[in-house]
C-alpha cells in the first residue's frame, strides 16, 4: 500500500509537532505512536492529538518523505524509553525484590525488580523486564549476553 501523504508536519519553536491537513485542520503537539512497538516497530504509526484522537495513519515509516520521517523518528526517540540491557553487572540478591545494576544501550542504570513475574517472555530468547516504577527494560537476545550476565539472569528465569 503506497502512502499518499495528505498532511503537513512541522516543528515549532516550542519543540512541538504541528500537524496540518487538507481540510484546514491545524493541531499543535501531535504525538506519533507506534502500534506494535516491540514486534513491528516500523509498521503502523499513528499521529494522534494530545487527547489521543487519531489524526493520520502511516502504514510504514519508510513510505514517508525523508523530512517527515526524520521529524517523526526524532519525536519517537524523545518519547520511547525501553533501554536494552547489554550486560548485567550486579544483582543485589536472588530473592526478589532485588536491585539490578545493568549496562544498557542508554548507559548504566540501576533498577528494582519487584518480583519474578515482572520478567515477561516475549519470544524464546527475548525478555521484557518491568521495574518497580513501570519502566520496561528489554533483553533482545539473552543467548548473546556474556556468560556472567546469563548466569545471573538464569537465577530469575
Amino acid at each position: 500500500m503506497s502512502q499518499l501523504v495528505t498532511f503537513q508536519l512541522t516543528r515549532n519553536a516550542f519543540g512541538r509537532l504541528v500537524f496540518n491537513n487538507q481540510l484546514g485542520l491545524m493541531q499543535e503537539g501531535v504525538i506519533p505512536v507506534r502500534s506494535f512497538p516491540i514486534t513491528h516497530p516500523d509498521q503502523g504509526i499513528a499521529l494522534v492529538d494530545p487527547h489521543g484522537k487519531e489524526l493520520a495513519w502511516i502504514e510504514r515509516l519508510t513510505d514517508l518523505q525523508d523530512d517527515y520521517r526524520i521529524l517523526i523518528e526524532a519525536e519517537l526517540k524523545g518519547r520511547e524509553f525501553m533501554p536494552e540491557i547489554k550486560r548485567l553487572c550486579k544483582v543485589s540478591s536472588f530473592i526478589t525484590p532485588s536491585t539490578w545494576e545493568v549496562e544498557t544501550d542508554r548507559g548504566e542504570a540501576a533498577f528494582i525488580l519487584k518480583g519474578e513475574e515482572d520478567i515477561r517472555r516475549l519470544t524464546t530468547s527475548s525478555l521484557m523486564i518491568t521495574d518497580s516504577q513501570g519502566i520496561h527494560f528489554l533483553i533482545r537476545d539473552r543467548m548473546s549476553l556474556d556468560r556472567y550476565s546469563r548466569k545471573l539472569l538464569d537465577h530469575f528465569l
Binding site: G15, K77, R79, E80, S93, I95, T96, Q133
Partner: protein, 764 residues
C-alpha cells in the same frame, strides 16, 4: 550561611553540594531541587535542576557548565509525563528554552519545584522581596519532601526493595507470646528427648569393653552385665520415643495456633483497611499472602526451625560427650565437620536454584490451564484446541528440560553426602586405630565415637537447608507484616459521637480530594436536605463516583468536611455510620448462600416476613417464588443462575431491608436492558421514597425524578437545577443531554472505520 542552609536544612545531595557552593551568589538560597537521571536523548545521565530565590539553575553531570535563567516576564515551568518518563520544560512566550527528562519517582518533588518557581517568579515580577523560605526538607536520595521531624524518607522506605533481613522473623514473637509457657515446655522436651537419643551409643562403649572384648580374650560372658546394658539401651530408646512424640506434638500444636492467629489477625486487619488499599492490590496477591505465606511460616516454625534446634542441641551435646571421653579423638572427629557442612551447603545452593526454577515452570504449566479452562468457549468457538494443546505441550516440554537438568545434580546429591560421611568416618577410623595401637583408647571408645559421628553427619544435610528456608520464611513474614503495618487511611475517631437516629441531611463544605498526586475533586459545596433526591451527572471521570465514595467514607476527604446532620462524618464510628447508608451498585455482588441470606446480609437477624416484604417492595418476590427452592435457593458462585436484572433486584431488597436514611444508587440500572430497567426503576421508586437519595446514572432519562441534578465537570460543580431548568439554561447539561440523544443513532456508525482498518491490515 548559605552553606549551612544547603547541607543541613535542605538535605542537598552530597555529590552536588560542593560544585553548587561555588555557583551560588551571596544571599542566594536553594528553595527546591530535583535530580534528573536522563539526558535529552534519554540516555542515563545525572543532572540537577535547582530553584533559588534568584534564578533557575541547572547542570548535567557530563556537562561542565551551569546554565541559569533569572526570573523574567513570560517564563513558565511545566511538566508532563508519559509511561514513567517525566519531562520538565522551561518555556517563554516564544519558544522552549530547556527541557529535562527523568524517571518519575516523586511527583511531589517536581510539583514543589514548579510551585516554588512560580511563586518566586510572581514575587520578582511584583518587585516584592521573596518570602522567607519555608523549612521543607527534601530527601537527599529521591528528592521527595520529608515529613516534619523525620529522618527517613517515606518514599525511599516504601521503595527500599532490599530483601527482608532475617530478623524480620523475630517480629513473629508477637504471635508466639501467648504460648510462651507451652513453648518453654516444648523446648525442655526437646532437650530431654535429644539427650535420651544420645544414651544408646554411649552404652556401646562398656558393652564392648566390659563384655565383648573380655569374651574374645577368653572370659565368659557376664549375663547380668549384658542384661543391664541392653535394658538400658531399650529403656533409653523408649524414653526417647515418648519424649520425641510429646515434643513434636506440643510444638506442632503451638505453631499451628500461631499460624492460625497470624492468618485471622491479618484477615481482620485487611477487612478494616480502606478502599484505597484494595484499589492498589491484586486479589490473587492478597489471597496468596494470607493463605500460602502463613502456611509457609507455619511449616517453617513447626518443622524446619524445630529440626534445626534439635540438630544444634544434638551436636552440642555430642561434642560435649565426645570431649569428655577423649579430647584428642573428639578434635579429629569434629574438625572435618565444618568443611563437610560447607561442601553440602555449596551443592544445596545449586540445587535450590534448580528447585526454584522447577517451581516457576510448574506455575507456568498451571497458568496455561488457568488461561484455557475458563476460556473454553472461546477456544471451541475458534476451533483452536490443537494450538492450546500445543501450548500445553510446550510448557510441559520446558518443565521436562529443567527437571532433567535439576535431576542430574539432585541424583548426585545423596551419594555425595554419603561419600562425605564415609570420608569423615574414615578419618576417625584411621586416627582411632592409631590411638588404639598406642593403647590410648579402648575399642569401646572407638565404637562409641563411630556410632555418634554417623548420626550427625546425616543431620548436616538437613541443617544446610536452614539458610534458604529461613530466608524464604523471612520474606513471607515481611509480606504478612506489610499488611499488618498498613494503617487504614480512614481511621476510627478517638472520641466517637454516637448518633441514635439520623435525619439524612448531608452537607459538603469545600470538599476536595486528591488521589496520589492527582486532584480529583476540588472545592465542592452542597447541602442535601433530608428526603431529597439528588442526581449526579457528568462525563466519566468527572468525579461522581469519587463524591459517593467520600460520602460513604470509603475514602477520607483531603480538604474540607462532610457533615451529616451537622456532625463531621469522621467523628462517627465507621460501622455505625455506614449502617445508615444503603448502597446499590452497578454490578450487584451476591455471596454464596441462599437468596434469603443474601437479602438479609445487612441485618442477619431479620425475620422471614421482613425479608419477604423487602423482596416484594423490590419487585423480586415473584421471580424468587418461581425458583425451585424459593427463598432458600442457592445463589452466588456455583449457585442458581440469575439474570442481571434479578440480581439487581435482590441487591435492592438488601438495601431496603436495612431501612437506611441515606440511599446511594451508583449506576444501579445501567447494566441491564431498557425493559428490565423499567422493572428495576419501579423497585427503586419504592426504595427512594422518604430517603435522602444520591443517584448516579449514565442514562440521563432515569434521573428525571430527581429534585435536583448536580452537574459535575472535572471535579467541580458546574450547574445545579432540575431537568427542566437545566434544559432551559442550555448549558453543560443541555449539551450532555443532546449528545446522549444523538448517540443512539451514531453509535452504530462509529464502528465502521475501525472495521475497515483491521481488514486493510490483514489483507496487506
Amino acid at each position: 550561611m548559605q552553606q549551612l542552609y544547603n547541607s543541613s536544612n535542605n538535605n542537598f545531595p552530597q555529590s552536588w553540594d560542593e560544585v553548587l557552593a561555588l555557583q551560588l551568589n551571596d544571599e542566594e538560597n536553594v528553595l527546591a531541587w530535583i535530580e534528573t537521571d536522563l539526558d535529552s536523548q534519554l540516555h542515563f545521565s545525572k543532572g540537577i535542576v535547582i530553584v533559588t530565590n534568584q534564578r533557575l539553575l541547572t547542570k548535567m553531570y557530563a556537562n561542565e557548565v551551569w546554565q541559569s535563567w533569572c526570573y523574567r516576564q513570560g517564563l513558565l515551568l511545566t511538566q508532563r509525563d508519559y509511561a514513567g518518563i517525566g519531562c520538565l520544560e522551561l518555556l517563554d512566550a516564544h519558544s522552549q528554552l530547556m527541557s529535562w527528562r527523568y524517571r518519575v519517582r516523586s511527583d511531589r518533588a517536581v510539583n514543589r519545584l514548579i510551585e516554588s518557581f512560580a511563586q518566586q517568579l510572581d514575587c520578582h515580577l511584583a518587585g516584592e522581596l521573596s518570602q522567607a523560605a519555608d523549612t521543607v526538607v527534601q530527601c537527599p536520595n529521591c528528592g521527595a519532601i520529608m515529613p516534619n521531624g523525620q529522618n527517613d524518607c517515606p518514599v525511599c522506605e516504601k521503595q527500599s526493595h532490599a530483601p527482608p533481613p532475617t530478623w524480620t522473623l523475630l517480629r513473629l514473637w508477637r504471635f508466639a507470646k501467648p504460648y510462651k509457657g507451652r513453648l518453654l515446655i516444648g523446648f525442655l522436651l526437646t532437650l530431654c528427648s535429644t539427650a535420651a537419643t544420645l544414651v544408646p551409643p554411649y552404652l556401646t562403649m562398656p558393652l564392648m569393653d566390659n563384655v565383648l572384648i573380655p569374651y574374645q580374650n577368653g572370659q565368659p560372658i557376664n549375663n547380668e552385665l549384658v542384661a543391664l546394658y541392653l535394658s538400658g539401651l531399650l529403656g533409653a530408646s523408649i524414653l526417647a520415643w515418648i519424649l520425641g512424640w510429646a515434643r513434636t506434638y506440643m510444638l506442632a500444636l503451638v505453631s499451628e495456633r500461631i499460624g492460625a492467629d497470624l492468618r485471622t489477625t491479618t484477615y481482620e486487619h485487611l477487612l478494616n483497611l480502606s478502599q484505597e488499599y484494595f484499589g492498589g492490590k491484586r486479589t490473587g496477591d492478597l489471597m496468596a499472602r494470607i493463605g500460602a505465606e502463613t502456611d509457609r511460616i507455619n511449616l517453617f516454625l513447626s518443622l524446619h526451625l524445630l529440626d534445626f534446634a534439635t540438630d544444634v542441641i544434638m551436636i552440642a551435646m555430642t561434642a560435649m560427650i565426645l570431649i569428655s571421653i577423649n579430647p584428642s579423638l573428639a578434635l579429629v572427629t569434629l574438625v572435618p565437620l565444618p568443611i563437610i557442612a560447607w561442601l553440602i551447603h555449596l551443592v544445596r545452593d545449586r540445587l535450590r536454584i534448580g528447585f526454584e526454577k522447577v517451581d516457576r515452570i510448574w506455575a507456568e504449566v498451571n497458568n496455561v490451564l488457568a488461561d484455557t479452562i475458563p476460556g473454553i468457549r472461546v477456544i471451541k468457538a475458534f476451533a483452536q484446541e490443537k494450538r492450546e494443546s500445543a501450548r500445553f505441550y510446550a510448557a510441559n516440554q520446558r518443565n521436562l528440560q529443567i527437571n532433567d537438568r535439576v535431576n542430574k545434580l539432585w541424583s548426585l546429591f545423596t551419594p555425595t553426602v554419603t561419600l562425605l560421611t564415609e570420608v569423615g568416618l574414615l578419618i576417625v577410623w584411621i586416627f582411632g586405630i592409631w590411638q588404639i595401637s598406642k593403647d590410648e583408647i579402648t575399642v569401646g571408645v572407638l565404637t562409641a565415637f563411630l556410632a555418634y559421628i554417623g548420626r550427625f553427619y546425616i543431620r548436616l544435610d538437613s541443617m544446610s537447608r536452614i539458610v534458604s528456608i529461613t530466608q524464604k520464611a523471612a520474606a513471607g513474614t515481611k509480606r504478612i507484616f506489610d499488611i499488618l503495618d498498613h494503617i487504614s487511611s480512614v481511621p476510627e475517631s478517638a472520641n466517637p459521637v454516637h448518633l441514635a437516629t439520623v435525619q439524612g441531611q448531608i452537607e459538603l463544605r469545600n470538599v476536595g480530594f486528591r488521589y496520589g498526586t492527582r486532584r480529583i475533586t476540588s472545592d465542592i459545596n452542597l447541602v442535601i436536605k433530608p428526603g431529597e433526591m439528588i442526581g449526579l451527572v457528568g462525563h466519566s471521570g468527572s468525579g461522581k463516583s469519587t463524591l459517593v465514595n467520600l460520602i460513604c467514607r470509603f475514602y477520607d476527604v483531603s480538604e474540607g468536611t462532610i457533615l451529616i446532620d451537622g456532625h463531621d462524618i469522621r467523628s462517627l464510628p465507621i460501622a455505625e455510620y455506614r449502617k445508615h447508608i444503603g448502597l446499590v451498585l452497578q454490578e450487584p455482588f451476591l455471596f454464596y448462600g441462599t437468596i434469603a441470606e443474601n437479602i438479609a446480609y445487612g441485618k442477619p437477624d431479620a425475620t422471614p416476613s421482613e425479608i419477604v416484604s423487602a423482596a416484594r417492595a423490590a419487585h423480586a418476590h415473584e421471580f424468587i417464588l418461581r425458583l425451585p427452592h424459593g427463598y432458600d435457593s442457592l445463589v452466588g458462585e456455583r449457585g442458581q443462575a440469575l439474570s442481571g436484572g434479578e440480581r439487581q433486584r435482590i441487591s435492592i431488597a438488601r438495601a431496603l431491608l436495612i431501612n437506611p436514611r441515606i440511599l446511594i444508587l451508583d449506576e444501579a440500572t445501567s447494566s441491564v436492558d431498557t425493559t428490565t430497567e423499567k422493572d428495576i426503576q419501579e423497585a427503586l421508586d419504592n426504595l427512594v421514597r422518604g430517603r435522602t437519595t444520591i443517584a448516579i446514572a449514565h442514562r440521563l432519562s432515569t434521573l428525571r425524578e430527581a429534585n435536583r441534578l448536580i452537574v459535575l465537570d472535572r471535579g467541580s460543580i458546574v450547574e445545579i437545577g432540575n431537568h427542566a431548568e437545566l434544559m432551559a439554561r442550555e448549558g453543560f447539561y443541555y449539551r450532555l443531554y443532546q449528545a446522549q440523544v444523538r448517540n443512539v443513532d451514531t453509535e452504530d456508525r462509529g464502528f465502521v472505520p475501525i472495521a475497515e482498518h483491521s481488514v486493510a491490515g490483514e489483507h496487506k
